[in-house]
Every structure is written in C-alpha cells, then in structure tokens.
Subunit: 303 residues, 2 copies
C-alpha cells in the first residue's frame, strides 16, 4: 500500500517540554521506531506539524532586533528543513542502509480569494498587552484578536489548493524511496493577483488538510493522522464519551466533531474518504501499525 502518515505536533515535542534540539530528536526517534516496521511492506510518505518550531524561530528572531523577523513562508521552509532532517536521519538509522530517503521541500498554493482572508482567526505567537499589540499592528500591519485577557496575533488559515512538488514526490515513491514532505502544511504561497508569479503568503495552512490533499494527489491507499488521542470520540469529555472505531464520512460530517483540536483531523479524514473511497485513520503514533491494519483508532470510510 501507499500510505501517507501525518505526524502530529506531539510526535516532535510533548506539551511543556523545552524545545531543545535534543528533546525533538529524542521524540522523533520514538516516532521513527513506531513507523519503521511499516517501511518493509509499504510505500511511506511522512508529513508533520511545525507550529511550536515556527513559534520558536519567530521568538528568536524577535529577540535579535538587528534583522527584521522573517515572514511565515520563510520560517516554514526553515522548519521543513530542520524537522525533515531529524525524521530522515532517525528513520534512516532504523532501516536497511540501502533504503532510499528523500525530504522534499514542499510549497502549497492558497487562493487570495479564500474566505479565510476576510476573517483571520488562527492564533500564532505570544500573547501581548493591548498597548504592545496596537504598536505591532501599526508597525507591521499584523491583525490582533483578544485571547482571554491578552491580545494575540491572528492570521488566515486558507485551504490548500495545490501541492506544487507532487510529481517529484510521486517519482521518488516509484523508486521505492521513503519521502518526507509537506511539513507544517507546506510552505504557504500564492500567485500575485493577475500574474503567474508565485510568492510567499503570510498565512498558516492546516497540516491535516494539506496532508489530505497530498494523499489524494498521490492516489494513496491509506491516510493516517497520528496524534496523542487514540481516536475520535463521541460525547468527548462527558461521562458518556465513547471512541468511534469505524464511521462513514456522512456520520462524521455533523457539527459535533467540527470544533476542538480533533475538528481539522475529522474534516481531513472525511474529505479524503469521500473523494477517494479509501480509508482514513486517526489515532496514536504508538498504535500506527494498528491504524494501518485497521484494528486501532478510528477508521473513516466513504458512505
């Protein structure tokens, strides 16, 4: 099978851990150990999140005022390099030495007319007092929204329309390479309106939505989202909560699952299952073999 695995942020950094290179490497090693057994029998494509890593680069940049902080496309490209390297090296250490690997930098296209631009609501970066937020808004053109008692920058999170490097990724899979790509939802880009000139976009693309698009464009047989919860739950947080082992895309399209951190994953799974007729699976990284076998986590199928 051709399998796209989207690694959640917790595969790279556990909540509350200092974001050192050593911690990230140790976590990636655990993720690699979980995924390595799959490489013998399957074509593997690995994508990953990058939220905390982009956040750190932005904080480091802000702490060194001599050079203006880099925009989100450039920071995203930096994290694709860093995280891709750690995954490639740690997974490579567990597989036969002749197994080919490639980390392919990936740009995704977003639409300047995406309705998300009219109402940016993806929080990024640290919280600020109102006065500081107003100053940054005036200086950099950033948009802020209230987050509890403080203020925080928001950017749009438009849908990904295209993964530009889909052909190279496909060619490498045909040669048997493990491919790491579309990190952080891909580097966000868009065409300058009225031209064919591509440029960076100051947005955040949802990693699971971009990975779903990747899986569809690659004609993957299975799309796995590995996170820190063992599946999708009905009545999450209530005494009646119950894990869903298997559901149709129609059953999961209701609003119950749209909110919260599981929402984008459910949306990406539904979209993938409906458009391809193949199965999507959501669960923990430790269970990834079971997610592939269909014995663990939540499976989403067309229907």
């Amino acid at each position: 099978m051709r399998i796209v695995i989207a690694l959640g942020g917790n595969a790279l950094l556990r909540r509350g851990q200092p974001m050192t290179a050593d911690n990230q490497r140790a976590n990636v090693r655990v993720a690699a150990e979980a995924m390595a057994p799959l490489a013998a029998d399957h074509e593997l494509v690995i994508s990953h999140g990058n939220g905390p890593q982009v956040g750190l680069l932005a904080l480091q940049g802000a702490a060194y005022p001599a050079v203006e902080t880099y925009p989100l496309d450039v920071l995203g490209a930096q994290t694709e390099g860093m995280i891709g390297y750690l995954i490639e090296q740690e997974l490579g250490n567990l597989l036969p030495s002749d197994k080919p690997f490639a980390t392919v930098l990936t740009m995704v296209e977003v639409d300047p007319d995406d309705p998300a631009f009219a109402n940016p609501e993806k929080f990024i970066g640290p919280v600020y007092e109102q006065e500081e937020a107003d100053r940054l808004a005036a200086e950099k053109g950033w948009v802020f929204k209230q987050d509890g008692a403080k203020w925080r920058r928001v950017v749009a999170s438009p849908l990904p329309r295209r993964v530009f490097e889909i052909r190279p990724i496909r060619w490498l899979l045909e040669y048997g390479a493990v491919v790491i790509c579309t990190g952080g939802g891909g580097i966000p880009t868009m065409y300058r309106p009225g031209t064919h000139m591509l440029e960076g976009a100051e947005v955040v693309v949802d990693k699971d939505r971009a990975s779903s698009l990747l899986a569809r464009d690659l004609d993957a047989d299975l799309f796995v989202m590995a996170t820190d919860v063992d599946g999708v739950y009905r009545d999450w947080g209530k005494p009646s909560q119950q894990r869903i082992d298997r559901a149709t895309s129609t059953e999961l399209s209701g609003s119950e699952f749209a909110a919260g951190s599981m929402g984008p994953k459910v949306g990406a799974a539904v979209e993938y299952a409906e458009r391809t007729g193949h199965r999507a699976a959501i669960g923990t990284l430790a269970d990834v073999e079971g997610l592939v076998a269909g014995t663990h986590g939540t499976s989403v199928v067309r229907g």
Copy 2:
C-alpha cells in the same frame, strides 16, 4: 549537458547588506535570472552557500536564552530549507509552469578520523573578549582561537566523503527536474564510532568541496562555481595580476592558489577535473552562460 552550479554566498547576500528576507529574495531573483536560460537545454543541479544564514540563526538563538542554541547540523538543515525555497520559487517563476523542481535535503558524511578534527581552524560566529570566550569554552566545550585582538570559535572543516541522497537526486534529474541540493556543503553528519547510527557533526563542510563530490557522483558534464570574482588570477593583488582563462589541473595544483578565498574553489575544480576528465569553471554568476560555453571565467581541465 548535466551541470552542477555552486552558488557563492554573494548570490544570496552582498557584503554589508542587512540579512533580511527581502534582500535575500531580491538577490536570489538576480541569480535565478542568470541561470534560467540554461534550464531549457541542460539538466541543472544547484547548490549554494549558507555561512551568513547559519550565523544569523545562531545569533538569534543566542539572543533568546530560554532554549539552548541548536547545533550546526540542525541549523544547516534549516538553511537548506530556507535558501532552497527561495531559489526554487524564484527560478520557478522564470521557467515554464510545467518544469518540475525539487529541493532535496542533503546530508553529507564526514570521517571522525579526518585530520581536520585534530586542528579545528574554521572561524564561525561573532568575536568575543577572551574572558567571554573562556566562559563559553568551559560551558559548551567550544574551541576558540585568536582572531586579531579578539577570540572566535573554531570548528573542524573535514572533507565530505558521501552525499547520502545521491540516488533520489539522480532519479529526479532523469525525470527532467531542476534539483536544488547540498546547500551549505550539506548537513554535516557522521557515524557514531563503532555503529551504523548516523548523527549530526558539529563541523562546517566546505560548500565547493561538497559540490565537487556531488558533481562527480552525478557524473555531471560540467561543474560551475559562481562567485563574485571573474576567474582565478595569477599574482592576485599585484600589478602583474592576470586572469587565467584556461588551465590544467596540474598547473593549478601549486601552492600559489591554495591560500585565500579562491583556494577551496581551485581545489574543488582540480579534484573534479582530475577525477572525471570533465571541465570545471570558476567565474561570476552574471557570466554563467559564458562559464557554461567556456568563453568566460577560468576553465580547469585534466592535465
């Protein structure tokens, strides 16, 4: 022809320019305009330097003390992402929309027994007063050497032995893709002694040496090093200075050319020409079409 072009640091950032994303993008655009005409008739592989970019990331990291500065392998991976993205996007904007591109993250192997480790002498990062240098040496295990009146960190610059991703790069070239790789001399790695476990190496690999190895392993027909000088000069800096249009590897192997910033380029050209029998060329990026044609810069051939 299959051509490997190694872009010098000045293609990304001119001396004295603030290292903003905008400046780097504007410089990359000029480089892309110079290289674009070659893509119609040739297979192109583009490598690049990363010295100032790694330096900035290290400074930004040091300015944000909450998280320990990342090691050189991880910083190198970040710069391969950032610079590769800028090159891929700007060159892509100039070529037909169906031209495939891929930026492939590249690790190079160095030998823990390389004699360079016994005498680290590649200066990196800012200068320090002796007291601060002593403190950092004790705290981080860094090695410092005197640089004028101040002290500066030095690391080893061992020779690259292997480009790990050579097969994916070759496959992508066979499909007609422009490939960007081996940025900054590649991400430096080595096997933990006595094991088959690859890990990062706290070293700097010379970009031109790594590009020469890349060109040899890809059976490239031509290896071009684009820099800010229009060729190799005899008697450089003297009234008798004279550009060399064409020389054999033997003629350039003398010590006259080993010193200074041109030294590693001459060494890389000699090595490539001797081992492959193909031509290497050194000159300015603006002349890159002439370097490919053999009408500009300095050509180095076996002999």
